[in-house]
Assembly symmetry: C2
Homo-oligomer: 264 residues x 2
């Protein structure tokens, strides 16, 4: 009988050890260079997509000093806040809402919900995400968790290297790319407890939008947007976690944002 | 005997549960808005410290659109890469080393080692960290862990709101603020396995440095720097973890960086 108890004790001790190590791994791995990390941020350069309009302009890098001449390499740069992979702060469309530097850190960490709508976008570049698309995600993966950051995966990232194809303007100057529908924005704000929404196109409102309803709905509820999100083809639909790090411009309406994903 | 076995099993089951929950908490808390987070980043504005020299200039924000007139609020901005809370990429001083966008994500997550040298700086604003300061930290907290990010806490952050006091130039134009000694940089590179070093002043080399030896030593070994790090008065000496998120400027020598601390 003593040997039975001993066997039970040894067995359980081993499983405690394995259990704790397994659970602890995720935090330990993250801070010891061994987690699977993915960068959802495009490098910023003069080819980065920016919004059409005379006040917007490409990223500009100016050399200040170089090692051969000055012993040090250094640049200055100019850019619109809403260029490349960036965040829209709630103040972007709604007065009195938070600016970029005021968004609480806790809202910049959360589970990623990646909604793949590529098949619909293939048939219709003006596609807007439907509530059914969200319900489909929930049927496959369970309810959208509290504090989620929704990422709409349209496949538009394939066009990133060609600015004209990415903007996709027609002869009349109208933009054609997919986005969220106002109904989905409304549903996420009212029925779910999310932190923000993102997309792999130039805007969370689809290209043809003239009233930017999704911007008004989400920002009005204090939620941020991520635009021109990179590498969604490498993201799982569920199980990844995001860390968002916007440049901390005081009073900014938005700005370039580093987006890290911790993969399962 | 059966009841003894049962008691052992129940007790062990409870401790397994507690053990796993306790360990898992750190990752779960981080991604559910319940971790203790601290922002080591100053808001970027026109008052932000930048390096002296004719090619450097203050942060400039230009309004592009406002809600009353245009229905949307948006700005553009210009700044030197090395302004406010920022990272120096290894390419800043050493040719062939990594630019800002090339630093591996794994090196941007790690334990914080906060070395408090305020008492010495109080007596001497030109103080340089000594190897004894590092040894003192190790005597109190154990060996500097692999992948650590060292933060030199000089107390200089109290001067941040007054640019002149922060730069601290004398009548001859010489800067007076503390930094790392070249010996400490050499020791960290040779004897330890760190990811980078940071400080709450304008430069990891002290103000009087003319040859920027610390920059050359660290960058030559592929290590980055963090400068003008905020809120070190709120950091524990040991037990916090850092997440670094530099703006992803292609080929950048450095740039504004969001620094998050996960507190114990």
């Amino acid at each position: 009988m003593k040997s039975l108890i001993k066997a039970i004790l040894v067995g359980l001790a081993l499983s405690i050890g394995a259990g704790i190590a397994g659970a602890d791994d995720r935090f330990q791995l993250l801070f010891s260079g061994r987690a699977k990390l993915l960068d959802l941020t495009y490098p910023i350069n003069k080819g980065n997509a920016y919004w059409p309009g005379s006040a917007y302009f490409p990223f500009t890098l100016k050399n200040i000093a170089n090692i051969d001449k000055d012993g040090v390499y250094s640049n200055s740069f100019s850019m619109p806040e809403h260029l490349g992979t960036h965040m829209d702060a709630p103040s972007h469309f709604v007065k009195g809402q938070l600016s970029l530097d005021q968004i609480p850190l806790t809202q910049l960490f959360g589970p990623a919900v990646v909604v793949d709508v590529r098949q619909k976008v293939d048939k219709n570049p003006d596609y807007q995400m439907s509530i059914q698309d969200l319900k489909g995600w929930e049927q496959a993966h369970g309810l959208i968790p509290d504090g989620a950051i929704i990422l709409m995966y349209t496949g538009w990232g394939e066009r990133w290297s060609d600015f004209n194809s990415y903007r996709n303007r027609d002869a009349q100057g109208n933009l054609h790319f997919p986005g969220y529908s106002p109904e989905v924005a409304q549903f996420l704000i009212k029925e779910k407890s999310i932190y923000g929404i993102g997309i792999d196109t130039l805007s969370v409102d689809y290209g043809l939008s003239k009233d930017f309803k999704v911007h008004h709905i989400c920002h009005g509820a204090g939620k941020y947007h991520l635009e021109n999100v990179a590498n969604l083809d490498k993201m799982p639909a569920n199980g990844a976690y995001l860390i968002l790090a916007p440049i901390k411009i005081e009073g900014g309406s938005g700005g370039p944002t580093r987006i890290y994903a911790v993969l399962p």
